[in-house]
Subunit: 653 residues, 2 copies
């Protein structure tokens, strides 16, 4: 009878943590093994345990072991499941009189208390193995136990199936970190960064150089945090990247630099951005664009987790102009089709007014995307929401056209288009009867941009209807190249600003345009895009002081005194150089499939820039400000009100 009770209990063991957690724990132990191909790390060196909970297997049978862990769960004072970073193990609580004190310790300790137990690794009774648990063939028969720390209070249970708001997770981050998902994400991050370091240092002789974060403001560098110094009126700034320093390192002959660099950007409240973030920052001398691209491809290939499959290189490449024309964005998600097609020729003689108008203007065009089987999946309300999205977000008109004549939501205009241009449209778009076409018209860039957004909207809608469009296991890398060097300033379109930063070298084929039509000059900037997210960007830099000065002073009207050291450096034997910075947080977010970059950062800030655990930023006693010669200018009531309107105090997360 006792053994059947045991069996029942055993079956139950896997349930509380749930299947997903089991899978994550399993992949965790797999990736831990992968991390050091040469030698398995000793995870119990220097400490008072012989083994981790999660590593015990049948191969340990008969061994006397000591493990430390958290009480995940206890069943009827007979079993205890202990957890550590590597997984779960079942512990059998002794029931005999002589071990009463051990039993008392293990039965009295609240869940999540920390204990150390010693005992023998034994087989589970036949039929009671748990194949879902990596340690499911064994259990520990306890001899001694010690309560290392009792858990007094828990705002939520440490079980993956327990849903928590993100605000609660951030407030109690030290508890949230115990989840299998956070353990997995942080460990994988550490391993991938280590692999990158190996590739850069060992394979290619890069030098890891730390650059300052207390520096001076960059020209045009809004969004830089300021730090008052002890000298009245003088401030350091926290740079957004080590850009100047890495270029100066090249001038200094360092040849190959990299740094896993902390960067800072004060953007106020923005979802899925962090005021401090991490870049894998790289710079090389005597390199061209192809060189940097090959380096990055090799780097990612080398660091890529084995269980995500091999990465094919070289990555495909499109120009900025092509990306805009086909995807309406400079960061296309190339996991699926639905590219934008120019159908202007089909509509040369259209009677539809808004198409006619568009085509009569310079740069005017009619553009379309084809939503495959849209007639089957998109409902009338979806079509309405697409129209509304276009109007709200882009202030533009979109015309959804179902190729199926019987489609009830086709508007009279859509019906007219189908009658007059239906065949041409179907031919141009290779459309089938069940497809839906979204048409828009207007200036090339605006029309493409709208359809680029609608392409993603439609992908969301189709996926919500169960169509598998974007494979979550697919990693579609893409280079985007040949960006414009300058853009018209948003607020003063007559003036130019750098499309990226003012140190970007112009495209060699366009140098001659710099003095005549600078707005037409392409740059040697390149972006690396993964699944529709920009995960890196870099360029070949200007190494000629005269050219740099011309661009800064004459074209951009910047105050060059802030950059006199850089201009001097370029005049002192600066080698040709270029580099890239990869956004590590975003990359890890995509690799782990996490919903937010906050899930791959140990202690992230909320979207309002708050540390919800420690309550930062916080008020300071006035005496703490005195050494820095600053005082708070409290906003007047009306200012404060205006402020709260622009940054409404939404609840966090």
């Amino acid at each position: 009878m006792f053994s059947s009770r045991l069996a029942r209990l055993n079956r139950g063991v896997a349930t509380p943590t749930g299947r997903i957690a089991q899978l994550i724990w399993r992949s965790l132990s797999r990736s831990l093994t992968l991390s050091s191909q040469r030698r398995v790390p000793d995870l119990s060196s220097f400490v008072t345990r012989t083994n981790t909970c999660g590593e015990l297997r049948s191969s340990h049978l008969g061994q006397e072991v000591t493990v430390c862990g958290w009480i995940q769960y206890r069943r009827q004072n007979i079993f205890l499941v202990l957890r550590d970073f590597q997984g779960l193990v079942q512990v059998v609580i002794p029931q005999d009189e002589l071990a009463a004190s051990v039993k008392k310790i293990l039965c009295d300790a609240p869940v999540e208390s920390v204990v150390r137990v010693s005992g023998t690794v034994i087989s589970r009774p036949p039929g009671q193995e748990n194949p879902k648990m990596p340690t499911g063939e064994i259990e520990i028969k306890v001899k001694t136990a010690e309560l290392l720390n009792s858990c007094k209070k828990l705002p939520f249970e440490i079980k993956d199936f327990v849903k928590k708001t993100e605000a609660l997770r951030l407030q109690y981050r030290y508890l949230d970190l115990r989840s299998s998902q956070m353990q997995h994400n942080l460990r994988l991050r550490s391993q991938m960064v280590m692999r990158m370091r190996e590739f850069l240092c060992h394979r290619h002789g890069f030098v890891d150089v730390e650059t300052p974060t207390l520096f001076k403001r960059t020209p045009g560098g809004a969004k830089e945090f300021v730090i008052p110094s002890r000298e009245p009126g003088k401030f350091y700034s926290l740079p957004q990247s080590p850009q100047q320093f890495k270029q100066l390192l090249m001038v200094g002959g360092l040849d190959r630099y990299f740094q896993v660099a902390r960067c800072y950007r004060d953007e106020g409240s923005r979802p899925d951005r962090q005021p401090e973030f991490t870049q894998v920052d790289i710079e090389m001398s005597f390199v061209d664009q192809t060189g940097i691209q090959s380096l990055v491809e090799g780097l990612l290939q080398y660091a890529w987790p084995k269980d995500k499959g091999p990465l094919g290189v070289p990555f495909p490449s499109v120009t900025f102009a092509e990306a805009l024309a086909s995807y309406g964005t400079d960061k296309p998600d190339t996991r699926f089709g639905m590219e934008i097609v120019d159908v202007s020729d089909v509509f040369r003689n259209t009677e539809v007014r808004f198409l006619q108008d568009a085509l009569s203007k310079p740069q005017g065009a009619v553009k379309a995307i084809r939503v495959p089987e849209g007639a089957k999946y998109l409902k009338r309300k979806d079509i309405e929401s697409i129209r509304k999205f276009a109007a709200d977000h882009c202030d533009q008109e979109v015309l959804p056209v179902a190729l199926k004549a019987s489609q009830d939501w086709n508007t009279p205009v859509a019906k007219l288009v189908m009658e007059e241009q239906g065949r041409g449209l179907a031919r141009h778009l290779e459309a089938q009867e069940e497809d839906v076409v979204l048409l828009t018209a207007g200036e090339h860039r605006r029309a493409c941009s709208l359809l680029g957004k609608l392409r993603l909207e439609c992908a969301d809608l189709l996926e919500a209807r169960g169509v598998a469009l974007r494979d979550p296991n697919l990693f579609s890398f893409l280079w985007v190249v040949d960006f414009p060097l300058f853009l018209p300033k948003e607020e003063h379109p007559g003036e130019l600003e750098s499309a990226h930063h003012p140190f970007t070298a112009p495209h060699p084929s366009d140098i001659h345009l710099l003095h005549t039509e600078p707005e037409k000059v392409r740059s040697q900037h390149y972006d690396l895009v993964l699944n529709g997210h920009e995960i890196g960007g870099g360029s070949i830099r200007i190494h000629d002081a005269q050219l740099q000065r011309y661009i800064l002073e004459t074209l951009l009207k910047e105050d060059v005194t802030l950059l006199s050291h850089l201009l001097q450096a370029l005049d002192s034997g600066a080698p040709p150089h270029g580099g890239i910075a990869l956004g590590l947080d975003r990359l890890m977010c995509i690799v782990t499939g996490a919903p937010s970059i906050r899930d791959v950062i140990a202690f992230p800030k909320s979207f309002r820039g708050h540390d919800l655990m420690g309550n930062a930023p916080d008020v300071l006693p006035p005496e703490d400000l005195k050494p820095y010669h600053i005082q708070v200018s409290w906003p007047t009531d009306s200012e404060a009100e205006k402020n709260s309107l622009t940054h409404p105090h939404r609840p966090e997360s």
Copy 2:
């Protein structure tokens, strides 16, 4: 005739950079090879060269090579010496008519211009090899050449023998980095850190976790830079270390954490300190003091540069009390003797007043150090400077006594001591006739502290006289343990403050004293000392919330609301844990034998916290402060004057 001219020129090639530079370049190429035992890194991958200048050897003879480098030096338009990060190589400028354009490029380019040359590696003519130059057996016969960038201005020559002030070096750091010494230091730093990472990640399963630098102020955390946020009156602080985060990671079950962490400390102007600095930060769960010590010994042994000889482990260990008694400091330089000896017993019946007085007081003692052969090396003016040092720095009296009766500078008191206690003193100190004894008396701690300082002063004096006392090739590691947990506050000696930080666990043997005599409690803190410098410190932490609260609230009278998150965390199943932080800048400074930590940092601040290259900190336009709701409180004239007295505007460096 031409060949004899060649010979003369060849002989000269090594001279301009000098012998020391040659040695450094040689050790540089050696250590580069050492860095990756598994596989030699490819230093010319992805770029437009086939080889580095410094790597060419006889094994490359006959090869067509392309190298890029800086013109180090040109001799009579026949030879060019090119430099890159790996060393120097000699290039033969073609003299025939057909190659006139190549000759023009190479002869016209100013020194420190950047060129790319292609040609054949050939042997130097017999007798013209330069054994001092790693590439001295070969030269490159140039076919094509390209000027990549012309060097327009140089504030100083890039030659190691050219002496520059440090201010000039810092202002033109990008040029200073071209020196063999800076190249060596930064590359060795990168390599040692990489070795540490390998040891921690691959050998022992540590996880590299990045922790925030924008956080909130720590209780008692003066010296923290503040960063205004966009919320009026709310500030982030830059923490001095990731202390709280690493403890919270342990509570979060991360088990083994490390980070090469940027830390910040605003100490105003202090020589050889930096406002931002780097720690190798480590924390482990379920560990005791011995565990951390073994880990760090293994870590340093693994990362230690091969050419500095193997490190013996375990490192010796002394208690804080022993260190104070024998060396008068908690960071003894154990490369040499001259330990402090308590000679109170010798003087029980002394007639010398100041010794008598001291002995009559509680804790009073007479202490001595023996300066070996001091009579031979110390001149009268040295003895005067020793007295003056004691008076100026410690406000204490020191009595120098020459054992040799004939020593002319012995004072009447010294003579009296020699007559009465000479034999006892000689016996206690094992002193020889040529030795000098420095005597002082007073409270134990003060007397030891004075002699500790004089021990180092005397070492400087003896070394200035040519006595080899501290071997620059010796690395004397030492653990100092059993520190007091609390110290009396300097300004309010009735109150206690943490000797290190409030999270340090008390020594298990002294726990019972916490409620009765807290000032007597020793801690589980440990310092790692190298050649008289503290290069690391750590402790076992408090994991019990109740104990932590008692220490913070009752003993230290701190505001616990600032730490409520930490106290809550300790109550939520915190494992026992401990760790250490190694000061990477100081460690690298000692390993490289550099005169200052600024020589192992790519872009250091001056001792006044200035970036002399970029001119930071700097004034900001008022509109940059507006989003942060702060304004500058300009000091009044009298305040400014007072300020300039406390921080006189000494010229930089």
